[in-house]
């Protein structure tokens, strides 16, 4: 067995063991929660790994692409608010079509007449007409029952569809950004992605008619059964009664029913999470298999050749910009899919929770630690860093508590440290990134097919 294979087996067993420990020591529900978020993180990481590991594209705006995925979960699955649609839907549609028309028209004018003043005039006119319709539409939509809805609602389609739509939405945004900034200096892409992600978050936070802004959308329909239905299902009861038959018989008859009930409600939670895990594993496997096939194909070799020596590849007649654009779009689409999955899993869309630390930076640490250019490495990195991330907060708090325990309770320094202990995570994760980049740039699982 090669060194590499041993490494893969050892790391995956450690992951399995950690989950087992949490499951036995704390609870299975917590263990499965961690597993599910690990799976989502792994998919996000895969998307970024495709961009960085395959092509060396630095995306600082992962947050924006995942948020687009989350938005699509809302827009696809929520029931539509018919009152709001009749109140402002038409005008919003008009505003949107004028907006699109303006773009098409200005591109046409630019190509046909090459007169920039004409283009500027078209854009300005289009902007003001759009804004006129848009403001009225937004106001009338937001006025309808603002405490509970105040937005257009969604399309009332199955939420699983939003995973695909989220990917497409993110891909569209990535195409636009890539088209503008690829082919110039390498760091322009980084700066452009930083910008677009902040703009996407600003739109999601401020456009209440679209997704309620910071008022959040809750109760997003699920692709899996609800706990309450499982608790009442006969087959669940039968299975559990059989499973716990031994321990139930030891109890007095009067307590047997309540004990069984407790087991059922625990089992229902675990079952729901298991359903999610199944879905996530399926998506992850699909992406890993597809990515692996792509990487081993002639296309993959070309991509790695471009990454390792752009000038030589370009001299061999490879279209570097086109390949970069492709990879950037694919990677961002995967980030979008994972964003939609995350919102589906949480059952709510909270724009306030999109912060760069959690959705951009943490994912980067996962990519680097796992091993850039290795798909399994992304899974390992996604898993380990998420595990650390969850554990780092209590540890930071504990450290702050311990190091100041000789001070009395009301002491200013102690209070301050305890209040701000959560930011130790930020420093810690940054340090992990810097140290791994410096001393072990290959990560836990290094790229296997580095040599062409």
């Amino acid at each position: 067995m090669s060194q590499y294979n041993k490494r893969v087996i050892v790391t995956f067993s450690i992951m399995f063991f950690l989950l087992l420990m949490v499951g036995l020591g704390q609870s299975w529900s917590l263990s499965l929660s961690i597993l599910n978020l690990c799976l989502i993180s792994a998919i996000m990481t895969l998307g970024v790994n495709i961009q960085w590991g395959y092509a060396g594209l630095f995306n600082v705006g992962i947050m924006g692409f995942t948020a687009l995925g989350g938005l699509s979960a809302v827009l696809i699955s929520k029931e539509s608010i018919s009152k709001a649609v009749t109140a402002g839907g038409m005008r919003m549609l008009v505003a949107l079509s004028i907006f699109l028309l303006t773009i098409v028209l200005s591109i046409y004018i630019y190509k046909k007449f090459k007169n920039k003043w004409l283009v500027i005039a078209t854009i300005l006119a289009g902007y003001f007409i759009t804004r006129y319709f848009y403001i009225e539409a937004a106001q009338s939509i937001e006025a309808i029952n603002p405490a509970f809805s105040g937005y257009l609602g969604g399309l009332d389609l199955p939420v699983l569809l939003s995973w695909i739509v989220g990917g497409l939405l993110a891909a569209g945004a990535a195409w636009l950004i890539g088209k503008i900034s690829l082919g110039l200096r390498t760091d322009y892409l980084a700066i452009a992605t930083l910008g677009i992600s902040e703009i996407i978050i600003a739109i999601i936070k401020n456009e209440d008619w679209l997704s309620r802004g910071v008022k959040n959308v809750t109760a997003i329909p699920r692709p899996v059964p609800y706990e309450i239905d499982l608790q009442q299902a006969v087959w669940v009861k039968e299975i559990l009664a059989k499973l716990y038959a031994g321990s139930l018989h030891l109890l007095p008859v009067s307590e047997q029913a309540t004990a069984l009930k407790a087991h059922i409600s625990d089992a229902a939670i675990v079952l729901v999470k298991l359903c999610y895990s199944g879905l996530f594993v399926a998506v992850l496997l699909l992406i890993i298999i597809l990515a692996g096939l792509a990487l081993d194909s002639p296309w993959g070799r070309m991509v790695r050749a471009i990454r390792d020596n752009e000038i030589a590849a370009s001299a061999m007649g490879k279209n570097v910009k086109q390949r970069h654009l492709q990879i950037f779009v694919i990677g961002s689409a995967i980030a979008g899919v994972s964003g939609a999955m995350l919102v589906t899993y949480n059952g709510q869309f909270t724009p306030g929770s999109y912060i760069p630390l959690r959705y951009t930076f943490l994912i980067w640490v996962m990519v680097i630690v796992g091993g850039s250019g290795n798909n399994l490495g992304s899974v390992v990195g996604g898993f380990l860093i998420w595990f650390l991330w969850i554990e780092a907060e209590p540890v930071g708090f504990w450290l702050a508590d311990l190091s100041t325990s000789f001070l009395d309770q009301g002491n200013f320094i102690r209070q301050h440290l305890l209040e701000n202990a959560q930011y130790i995570r930020l420093i810690f994760m940054g340090a992990v990134l810097l140290v791994v980049m410096r001393f072990s740039p290959d990560g836990i699982l290094p790229e296997t097919n580095k040599k062409l």
């Binding site: 703009i199 600003a202 401020n206 701000n420 940054g430 980049m437």
Partner: protein, 340 residues
């Protein structure tokens, strides 16, 4: 037709709410952008840690200001922070030199791709951001003391008899004066002194500069020191003007990068022009022109809406749009991205 005083009132209104804020914000951006462009020119990477390093110096300034205030030392009508600033500059110089020694130097010696160094700078950004939040928390702090205004709107109205006032805040006055002095110093340093010339030579052609006996370590050190001075002053001036909040410093990154690219990467004069292009576009596009138009238009034509191009919540979208336009039409920027 509007009368003469109406026209004057309208102009004063714009001066007060668009021109003055844009001028001071632009100066702060220009100083930050100058630091970014210097790193770009000499060390050849986009420094993502710029915003958070600004926050770091500001945090040091705030801590020392509190200390000074507690021991009863103030600067009269000027903010006490000015006294604390030199200490913050020293702290910032030490901090950036340490990050260079432990992080960037390795990649420079390895001749790593620029994008790898950019990524290291993202790591530094998060560590610095964490440090800043750990020390002062995520909340808003106001640390400007002394007189808030040099001329208040009321005094101006009494002086001129106009309906609109033009207020000049102490922080605005300080920002503009210090920025002019500092930019003058930087240009003098780059053009006239031997070290400045060495820096330009190194930025222009590293190998040639090494051949002619320029000490690369010294060039890098001096660059970081200059960057630290610019960064600290920009950060403190911004904090005096708008108050300190960790996230708002981080969000300065996009306008600063946009300013650098608009002006032309590596061009100091470009960074300054770019800073003002960004700040004036932001101010002009997010100002609500209702009152301005009421002065100028006859009663029939007066608007009921705010007459605002874009809501203030999309302020940074403007820097992004400007960035996109520049990338599409003139990727080298206004000043053709000349190196220093």
């Amino acid at each position: 037709m509007p009368g003469f005083t109406d026209i004057i009132n309208a102009i004063v209104l714009l001066l007060n709410f668009v021109f003055m804020p844009a001028l001071s914000y632009g100066s702060q951006l220009a100083l930050g952008a100058l630091a970014v462009t210097l790193v770009y020119a000499v060390l050849k990477f986009a420094n993502f840690a710029q915003g958070d390093t600004m926050a770091f110096s500001t945090v040091i300034t705030i801590l020392i200001t509190w200390l000074l205030q507690k021991s009863g030392i103030t600067l009269g009508f000027m903010p006490t922070a000015l006294l604390a600033l030199p200490f913050a500059i020293i702290a910032c110089i030490i901090y950036v030199l340490l990050t260079d020694k432990f992080i960037y130097q390795y990649y420079r010696k390895q001749n790593s791709k620029p994008i790898t160094i950019v990524m290291a700078s993202v790591g530094v950004m998060f560590v610095t951001g964490g440090l800043v939040r750990f020390i002062l928390g995520p909340t808003h702090h106001i640390f400007a003391d002394g007189a808030r205004f040099i001329i208040t709107a009321r005094e101006f109205k009494a002086m001129t008899g106009l309906a609109e006032g033009l207020a000049i805040k102490t922080s605005q006055f300080l920002t503009i004066t210090i920025a002019i002095l500092l930019v003058g110093f930087v240009f003098y340093f780059l053009q006239k002194t031997k070290t400045g010339k060495a820096m330009r030579a190194y930025a222009d052609n590293k190998d040639l500069a090494l051949l002619s006996g320029i000490d690369p370590d010294k060039v890098v050190r001096v660059t970081w020191m200059l960057v630290a001075v610019l960064t600290s002053i920009a950060g403190v001036l911004y904090g005096l003007d708008k108050g300190f909040m960790a996230t708002s410093y981080n969000q300065l990154l996009l306008p600063m990068f946009a300013a650098v690219i608009v002006g032309g990467i590596g061009s100091p004069i470009g960074a300054i022009v770019g800073g003002f292009v960004i700040s004036f576009s932001e101010a002009i596009l997010t100002y609500a022109y209702k009152k301005f138009l009421i002065y100028l238009l006859p009663a029939v034509l007066q608007p009921d809406s705010l007459v605002q191009f874009l809501g203030t919540e999309y302020k940074f979208a403007i820097s992004f749009v400007i960035l996109v336009i520049v990338l599409l039409l003139r990727p080298t920027g206004i000043f053709k991205g000349k190196v220093i």
